[in-house]
Subunit: 138 residues, 4 copies
């Protein structure tokens, strides 16, 4: 499969920070979702487009590794890489400090395609997604 | 109108706390929503029941006063008081420390009744809500 | 006092959206905080700079008006206007749709200056903040 | 090592729900944290007690499996089981529907002990934690 990787910038906000003065670990889930939606936008195939075809992509599994803490106003880059489309949609993510390039965090997500009407899992990706991946030029 | 007031208990979680070691001010909106839903449950008239009648109650206005900061693991009581039902659903809230009784926070919300189908504002409350208020025995 | 107004752009994320398919009302508090921090960055006087002078600025009061709902992937502009610096730091905010210019939301916040060591309220703004406002050129 | 398992109840709030009308996947991180803090409270050894000994326990790794979606007002039980204390603090979690007993979610977290002063990782657990585990009677 074609390897596609995008970059998404995030600035750490005050509301992301916990009493240890670092990003609260649960907030990385938001960073990953924002980066993934940005990936799909760049692919020209958003959740809305996929929904219009009758499918949804709930997250079924995720793994996160917290390598080095992020702090208030730090500029981050999330690299999002599509690993697999079928039978599930798998992404890999790495977060770096925008300035130093230091690796701070990594994660993986697995999303299952669900037919919205029947509520059943579908193991073939929607055509629209496969086509957009095929035609993606970066 | 009948005066109805309920109490709802909250324990401050680690994820509620900000770098100043106090509850982040935006998290009070969650406390108010939880207390309001608890109020409606006790009234036996949840958002689901209201939705089944074709109406939704989006928040149109809110005011919050942060009197004294709340800390990790603090036990809070939210007193929720129904102030008005028509033309809008108005609640008043006060948060106290469960142990000392100290007043820590107060707020008001105004919710507008919307007909889900037509998307129009409705100035008369849904019958189900009026009846439940009428029959509430505390 | 000098009138200073900044603009901050936000794209609505999936995690901002509630079951009514609009931004959950509590998430506007995050939008306001991000816009306010951006304002202070542009002024070259962040919370960190103020903290270095021994002061903090907790939010003491806020008011929000939800005019028209915001949806997934909508591009928003938050206009943040400094209204008062003493005896409290007051901002006014308006959120517009970036494309149509439609006004969607407005808010006010009042922040109290606190001496971090003594925990007492201070009614004169820290010098650094007054100077930065004085010297701001936009 | 002694096997310790606790149960913690959660009611799904409106603000936990996403546009698919199910709990947004990132909110499970909050459920796990609340359940873990409850575990440590029952052990009589909270983060505060550990901090007083000079140590913190940031989450270094986590894995989540989303088995079946949770809905608004659903009553959940989080079972939290201590798996390992040294060299890292590992918990396993399972979320069930309180009424049906259906398994909805499972997760694992790994936390690293950090000496707050030196910022270095410590591979032996703080004495206070080992003692409280030893003396726990359930």
């Amino acid at each position: 499969m074609k390897k596609i990787e995008t970059e998404f910038k995030i600035k750490v906000e005050f509301y992301d920070i916990d009493p240890m003065n670092v990003v609260w670990h649960g907030n990385y889930v938001k960073f990953l979702e924002a980066a993934r939606c940005d990936f799909l936008s760049k692919l020209d195939c958003t959740y809305m487009d996929i929904k219009d075809e009758g499918f949804a992509y709930p997250v079924a599994k995720m793994e996160m590794k917290f390598i080095s803490p992020c702090v208030f106003m730090q500029n981050l880059v999330v690299k999002t890489c599509l690993e697999e489309v079928e039978p599930s949609l798998n992404f890999k993510y790495t977060i770096y400090d925008e300035n130093t390039g230091e690796k701070l965090f990594s994660a993986k997500t697995m999303q299952i395609c669900v037919d919205i009407k029947t509520r059943k899992t579908v193991y073939n990706a929607p055509k629209i997604l496969l086509e957009k991946i095929e035609n993606y030029e970066g």
